[in-house]
Every structure is written in C-alpha cells, then in structure tokens.
C-alpha cells in the first residue's frame, strides 16, 4: 500500500547506511535491473533484508551477513574502490561476486535477497509485485481456466470436435 512512499526511505532499522548500500548492490547483482524489467533493487529486497535481520527466524544468518557485507567492501577497497562495493563498476562487482560465490555469506545473502524479492509484500519487499513479474506469474488470489497453453489447446480441440 505504502510501497511507493517506503521506497524513498533511506532509514534502516538494522543495516547501517554503508551496509544498506552494499546490500542493494549485492541484490542488484543477484537479480539485475534491465530496461523494462525491474530486479531485486526495484523490488526493495534490501528493506526485507533489513527487517529479516531483526527476526528470530533469521538470527543465525545475521553475523554471517554482517561479516560478508564488510568483506565485500574490504575486497572492493582492495580493488581500488573509494566508497565500498557499490561504487565499483558492474564488471568489478561481478568479479568479486564470483570470488565469494561458494561461501556461506553468498548463500545466506542470496536467499534473503530472493525472499525479499518474491515473498508476500507484507514482509517489506516484492514491491509493485516485481517478483511475480520476474517469474511471469499473474498475481491474483484465484484463477480461471485455461491455466496454461496445453490445457487451453486441449479445450479448444474438444470444442472443435463438439
């Protein structure tokens, strides 16, 4: 409901401004924004992550995510970035992503980004149903037939025969 307003928010409950910047850049690497096709950043995945870091269910991953975000920035500084991972070029960010891909931070943070993108908007992400658009779902509480191409085709054939 307030998704449009909330997106402009720069205030985070758990993430520091630097962590939030890095998290947004990480999220945009997981599900990049493209012309006409929004990604995890437009979905507001970072707002879900900020909230999740205060939830008991995600308590185990908080230290992993915090340390991992700091490490992304440290690697970025090593690569010459002045303002953290987010200030690197896309190609440089991807190079660092590849380096951390097999580790526990990557798995935990990726899962949080995906939940933030695809979960019910009441959890803070998936704004404007961006997640549903990414996977190609119609976002409705119930559906009418035909459901897909193959059952539509069968129904059409049956109608022709009748």
């Amino acid at each position: 409901m307030l998704a449009g307003c909330a997106r402009e928010t720069t205030h985070f409950e758990r993430l520091s401004p630097a962590e939030a910047r890095t998290m947004r850049a990480f999220a945009a690497q997981i599900l990049p924004s493209e012309p006409g096709s929004p990604g995890a950043d437009e979905a507001g995945a970072v707002y879900f992550v900020d909230r999740a870091l205060g939830e008991p269910f995600f308590a185990d991953v908080v230290p992993v995510v915090r340390a991992g975000l700091a490490q992304l920035d440290a690697r970025a500084a090593h690569a010459g970035a002045l303002h953290g991972f987010a200030s690197l070029s896309d190609a440089d960010q991807r190079e660092i992503m590849q380096k951390v891909e097999g580790g526990p931070f990557f798995a935990a943070a990726r899962t949080l980004v995906l939940i933030g993108t695809f979960a019910d908007p009441s959890h803070g992400g998936n704004r404007d149903a961006v997640g549903m658009r990414i996977v190609g779902m119609e976002h409705r509480p119930s559906y009418a037939t035909p459901y897909g191409w193959y059952d539509a085709k069968t129904d059409a054939e049956r109608a022709t025969l009748a």
Partner: protein
C-alpha cells in the same frame, strides 16, 4: 470459534478423543451424531478459513503450518546403534483443529484390494514384517464411499479402479497443462492417465464453495473452504449435534487407567498450562502416527510398564512414510502450474508390486509442480544453470511457468527397527521426551525409488519436454505421512489394535489414525485413514450401544 456445548468436569462423557484431524474429525462427527457425548482434545488452536494466507515465507520456509514452528526439537538416527541427533526433516504434522488435513494436498486415492493382502500374495519379505491387514478392500469399500460423499471428493472412475458402490459426488477439477502432458506421455507409452481424485470441491458442495484454483493447497490452508479438511467438513457437523466439545490448545500428557486395566480418561495441560483430567467411558486416540505412539509410550503404569496397549512391543514400530522419486521437465509453452489443485491426472499402471522388477514396491505417478516463487528461485532450477545475474533472472522467467514434475508416490515397507521412540536426552516445553525417529529405508524401497525415477524420466521425454532433469534419490529422514506405529491385526502378540481398532490390551481404548496401517499403500494415506475412521466409529457405536465397552 463456533458456539459449542461445554462439558463441566463432573459431567459424564462417553468418549474423549485425542486429536481433531483426518481421523479425529470423522470420529467426533460420527459418534456425536450417533448420540454420544464427546470431548475432543486438540493441541492446537481453532482457526477460521479466512485466516489462511498465501504467504510463502511464513508457510513454507518458517513452517508455521507445522509442529516444527512450535516444538522444533526432534531427534533422528539411522539405526539404534547410532547416537540420535537433533537433525533430519522431522515428522511433520499440523497442530490445529483439523490437523494435517488443513494443509494437505487432498489427493484422495483409495487403496486397492491387493494393499490389504500383499503378504499372502507376495510372500514374506526379508528384513520386514509385511503382513496382511485384518480387513479387506471389500469390507472397507462402503466407508471409502462415505468419505467420498460426506467429506467431499471430486473425481471420475477409471477402467482399472477398484470397485466402487457409488459414483463420485462431484465431477473432476479442471485438467491442468501438466495433466494434459501426462495424458500425452501415457498414451505414447501405452499407459493410462486417469483423473486424480481430490478432496476438493469442483462445484459448491455441502454448503461449501467451489475451488478458486488459487494454487495454494499443499502446506496451505484453504481460505475458500473448498478443500475438504476435517476443519470445514467434519468438525462443524460434530459441533452442530450439541454433543461435541473441542477443547483447543490442550495437550494430553497420558491416558489414565484403573486397577482393572481399563482406561478412565486422559490428563492434559490446558491453554494456561494447568493440568486437567477428562474422564470418559471410552478413550479414542487419533493423534497421528507419531503423537499416538508417544502418548501410548508415555502412559506407563505398573500394569503397563512398557507403555499402554504395548504388550506386543509394537507401539512405535514399523513407521512408514511413503517413498517418492521424480523427474522435472521444462516445456516449450507455459503450463502455469502455480494455478489450480496440486494434481489433475495420475498414472496407476505401476501400482501393483511386480516380482519381475526384482524388488517389492509400486506406486502412482502424477504431474505437479510444488514450487512457490521463493522456493523455485532458491533451488528450483537445474544445477547447471547460473544462480545469479541476468542469465539467472532470465532462467527464472523461462522455467518457472514452463516446468513441472512427474512424481511417483511409493510404498514403504514395515521394518521393525524403523521406530518412533521417546528421546532420552531432549524434552519439549511440557517436559515430555521429544520424538526420536530411527529410520533406514529397506533396500527394496530404495530400488523402487530408482526404478520409478527411470519411469518418470521416460514419461517426461515422451511428454515432449525440451529439458529433463532428475534430483538425486535420497533416503528418508522424516516426512508427512506417519503410518504403522500401532498396527491393526488379529494376533495380540504382533499387533496393537484389533480389526475394530480396539486395543488388544485395553477393552475401552480405541486407536484409529495412520498408526493403524499395516502396510503403507502408495503414498496417499488420508482417504484410507478417514475410511478406517468411519468404519471404526460404526463399530464403536455398536459396542457402546450393546454395553461392550
């Protein structure tokens, strides 16, 4: 919550029923309708369909629909010689009015005549206690029909179905694209794809609405009231008799017995944590194959030192979960499997065990795609595709709406060393020992999974999938179907309850739920659990009226 009769502590009650799920709901409805005073003790809350949501994070990841959200601790080990650890999937079930029927997928396959007599047909199997049921399909058939009509099942008969005495009360749900493709594959390979019988309203039925095809059946509650859970099909009718009280948020600690070896009622903790006693003429346990076994094992006394009704030693033994194996495929055009009920077609050509395959086991194969977008994004794509970046994002788009599984639902053999026991080291919030599951798949069960995955792969290729992939075949370490832990039988030395669900050792104690199963069937147990419950209710009614309880 509905307005219901409330029984005071001093009021005489005919039956106390532990559990309000698939079996407990039927028993409560039948016995209260027959004129008995019934108190149902239910661990969980009483929800209304309007409370159910499509929130995938809460429902599927945080498992709010399961016991895990409330009592996360269970232990697991492969054999009794290993230490049990807090791991494994756990035995998953719902603690709420309606039990796991609230979140089931609603596949309502009947067992077939062979299911009840496989030991006679096939002979004993090494390493198992395969046995015949003490009842036959023919004896249970009228009660399957009761489930069809009273609980509410949609479907259509198929040529090789077991005999039925009445048609389905409702026509099939719409066929899905996955069902059309299963029909295509079956036709190419010379099999037959038939309508999946589902406990879901295909049209308004019994005062409840028709399915809205929201696509959230398995693990979710139905906000339309169209899924025929005990919550909406049986419980309201039980309450309407004015002879049934559902006591919610109440956890039974033990069944009490007297010096004559008769059950006198149950002790439970109420919602405020106070210990309460509910006396009754007869006690019925319908708490599921895990909880029922634990309650019996906890109800020890000098007369029953190894647990109540356990002179055979078979309480908690022979747990069966139903194996499964599947193949996933992607197709050229959209299927949109996120719409509609879980499955619309099933192939039953491999249902019977066949010695020529070299192992015991059989199953049905249906078509489904059990992924919400979160689960699919996290781990639904084939392993060789990227897990992040633009190509990953495009793959989500190209696969999510275009993919589905052919999934086999299989037998599990009854093995005496596969058990639910009381864990010696861990306690739940009430101080009760948590479940310890000891489980190793019988070699034939593993062979069946591999064999069926070959079939699902052939079928996926025959259906014309553009990409076909298989997950690894895994051993079982928990599950949703909790079967066999208080098995039925005629011989008190080898079974826990008799053919009428009366405990061999306790004349006024009845046990009826998945624990009663002698064999596992083929993966969809609830229809049979409820048929057993209708049948048990009829016998219990007869005994009570003739003063034989």
């Amino acid at each position: 919550m509905m307005n219901q009769r409330s029984y005071a502590e001093g009021d005489d009650v005919d039956f106390v029923i532990v559990g309000s799920g698939a079996a407990g709901g039927v028993l409560a409805k039948e016995l209260s309708t027959a004129g008995f005073d019934v108190v149902v003790i239910e661990q969980g809350p009483w929800e209304q369909p309007a409370q159910f949501t499509h929130d995938e994070l809460a429902v599927e990841r945080e498992l709010v629909m399961f016991n895990k959200a409330f009592e996360p601790k269970q232990t697991f080990r492969r054999s009794a010689s290993e230490p049990a650890a807090l791991n494994g999937h756990g035995m998953l079930y719902r603690r709420a009015v309606g039990g796991s029927s609230v979140h089931f997928a609603a596949n309502y396959w009947r067992f077939r005549p062979s299911d009840f007599k496989e030991c006679s047909m096939l002979g004993p199997i090494a390493g198992t206690e395969l046995a015949d049921w003490p009842i036959t399909y023919e004896e249970l058939e009228p009660y399957y029909t009761k489930v069809d009509w009273e609980v509410g099942v949609s479907g259509a008969p198929a040529p090789n179905d077991p005999a039925r005495s009445r048609p389905y009360p409702m026509p099939p749900l719409p066929n899905k694209s996955s069902g059309v493709l299963l029909e295509r594959a079956a036709a190419k390979l010379g099999f037959h794809a038939q309508v999946s019988p589902m406990a879901i309203n295909s049209r308004p039925y019994d005062g409840r609405s028709a399915c809205g095809a929201c696509g959230r059946c398995a693990y979710y509650g139905c906000e339309f009231g169209a899924k025929s859970s005990s919550l909406v099909s049986m419980i309201p009718k039980a309450i309407a008799t004015g002879r049934c009280e559902i006591r919610t948020d109440a956890t039974v600690s033990r069944v009490e017995t007297n010096a004559h070896g008769r059950a006198t009622g149950v002790l439970y903790w109420d919602k405020y944590g106070r210990e309460q006693r509910r006396r009754a003429r007869g006690v019925i346990i319908a708490a599921n194959g895990a909880e029922t076994a634990r309650l019996l094992l906890l109800s020890t006394s000098s007369a029953f030192p190894h647990g109540l009704a356990n002179s055979s030693g078979n309480v908690g033994r022979h747990i069966m979960f139903n194996g499964y194996a599947y193949t996933t495929g992607r197709f050229e055009h959209p299927l949109n499997e996120y719409k509609g009920a879980v499955a619309s077609r099933v192939v039953m050509d491999f249902y019977e065990s066949d010695a020529r395959r070299g192992f015991y086991g059989g199953g049905g194969i249906d078509a489904r795609f059990p992924y919400g977008p979160i689960a699919f994004a996290v781990n639904g794509l084939p392993d060789d595709l990227p897990g992040w970046g633009t190509d990953y994002k495009h793959a989500l788009r190209d696969y999510y709406t275009h993919s589905m599984r052919f999934m086999s639902h299989l037998t599990s053999l009854p093995v005496a060393t596969n058990t639910v026991t009381l864990d010696p080291d861990h306690r739940d919030r009430w101080g009760r020992p948590v479940f310890c599951l000891t489980y190793t798949d019988h070699p034939d069960d593993m062979k069946a999974k591999h064999w069926f995955q070959q079939r699902t792969q052939e079928m996926m290729e025959a259906a014309g999938a553009t990409r076909v992939w298989n997950p690894p075949v895994l051993p079982i370490d928990g599950g949703l179907h909790l079967l066999g832990t208080a098995r039925m039988g005629n011989d008190p030395r080898t079974s826990v309850v008799d053919r009428d669900h009366r405990a061999h050792d306790v004349p006024n104690l009845f046990i009826c739920d998945g624990s009663s199963f002698v064999t596992s069937g083929r993966g969809q147990p609830t229809m049979t659990i409820q048929a057993l419950a209708f049948r048990a209710a009829e016998h219990i009614t007869r005994f009570a009226r003739s003063h034989e309880i």
